[in-house]
């Protein structure tokens, strides 16, 4: 499946942009799911224990930033493939 997509991309002259497309796209899928889970869990936690709100908020931003960074790893890998090819 993936090789098919890759050969399709190579055939249509998209080789240079393809790395960014795959890196950014797949990275965004993972980070999107992760950020959704984090904020969903935060809402659950705060509705159960509203008095813990401040503590949860600071951990929430830590988790958000760590997850969001995963998207940028994909993007940077894509940019590297763009630069190197």
């Amino acid at each position: 499946m993936l090789t098919h997509v890759l050969s399709l991309g190579a055939a249509s002259g998209l080789t240079k942009g393809f790395g960014i497309a795959i890196g950014g796209g797949l990275g965004a899928v993972g980070a999107g799911v992760g950020i959704g889970i984090i904020f969903g869990k935060v809402i659950e936690a705060v509705t159960r224990q509203p008095e813990m709100r401040d503590e949860i908020t600071s951990i929430q931003w830590l988790g958000f930033a760590l997850t969001e960074a995963v998207f940028f790893y994909g993007l940077v890998a894509g940019l590297l493939s763009y630069v190197l090819t």
Partner: protein, 301 residues
């Protein structure tokens, strides 16, 4: 006219704005049509470092200017505020005190035992403030693009450009190396070389599985260097790239003039998101992780 404007509800104003946006797009398509791809414009030139002086390693380019500006602002604002502390705080002092309590309570004390927090607070606060200023001035247009100049009353002034020193991989890398050296040195001096090596192994792991776990833990210690660097660098670079693309870069590259108008609201939203959340959050994360690593190197886990 003003009476009429006051009578409009929020919903109507919103619809008028959407109408102006859509109408503008359609008019621009009709008037200018579809152009051709522009191959002259190189997106990487926006992040190019041009040496302004030729002093070898000490040459000054715009990243250096941004670094000096951030360092000056870090020291300057704090000294200026501390000189004119008042019993009844004004607005600026309240903001700085909020920032100070964020650095003291959340970053340092939240992740370290109190005795260590006293030692490491100056370093972590300086790290946070320096990164924060670096990120914030990265979203102010400053006349730094010396490749493209414009003429103002006969003087050639460099174009105004958005650039951040932290969008250059070397700046976060140096800061991450400093943090890496510090937490290793602190760990080795507090626990001794053998004790520190042992503390890398998670507690409760014995026997032959150590052959698998120990290299993994060593690798993960070095991965901290990469993840600290890439997180900050890639976040800021991607933010600047998206703002650049949405606020005209795509229109120039693809030669579709209407895209410049159509994507402008997205550019403004991304700009506000980056300035309001990401700039502060990335500085906060970098300092928090530095605190966690330094505190983790002296305790056995």
């Amino acid at each position: 006219m003003t009476d009429r404007l006051n009578k409009l509800t929020t919903k109507q104003i919103l619809w008028i704005l959407v109408g102006v946006w859509l109408g503008g797009t359609i008019i621009l398509i009709a008037a200018l049509g579809f152009g051709h791809r522009n191959n002259e414009f190189q997106i990487q030139n926006e992040f190019k470092l041009v040496n302004w002086t030729h002093w070898g390693v000490f040459s000054i380019n715009r990243a250096v200017v941004y670094l000096f500006l951030a360092a000056f602002l870090t020291v300057g604002t704090m000294l200026w505020i501390s000189r004119r502390m008042q019993m009844r705080p004004n607005r600026v002092q309240t903001a700085v005190e909020t920032l100070y309590s964020l650095m003291r309570d959340n970053i340092t004390r939240g992740n370290m035992p109190d005795s260590m927090a006293r030692t490491w607070f100056p370093f972590l606060a300086a790290l946070f403030l320096f990164l924060w200023w670096s990120n914030i001035i990265g979203y102010l247009p400053l006349p730094t693009n010396s490749e493209q100049t414009f003429n103002l009353f006969g003087a050639h002034i460099p174009s105004f450009a958005l650039y951040a020193s932290t969008a250059n991989i070397s700046v976060p890398l140096v800061l991450a190396v400093i943090v890496f050296v510090i937490f290793n040195v602190v760990g080795i001096t507090k626990q001794g070389p053998i004790g520190y090596t042992k503390s890398l192994i998670p507690s409760g792991v014995h026997g032959p599985i150590l052959l698998l776990i120990f290299p993994l833990e060593v690798v993960s210690t070095f991965t901290r260097l990469i993840s600290l660097t890439v997180r900050l660098f890639a976040n800021i670079l991607a933010g600047h790239l998206i703002i650049l693309f949405m606020a005209g870069g795509l229109a120039v590259i693809l030669g579709l003039s209407f895209l410049g108008w159509a994507l402008l609201p997205v550019a403004v939203l991304v700009y506000l998101f980056e300035l309001g959340l990401i700039a502060t959050l990335q500085a906060f994360i970098f300092a928090t992780l530095a605190a966690i690593y330094i505190a983790g190197s002296v305790t056995h886990h």
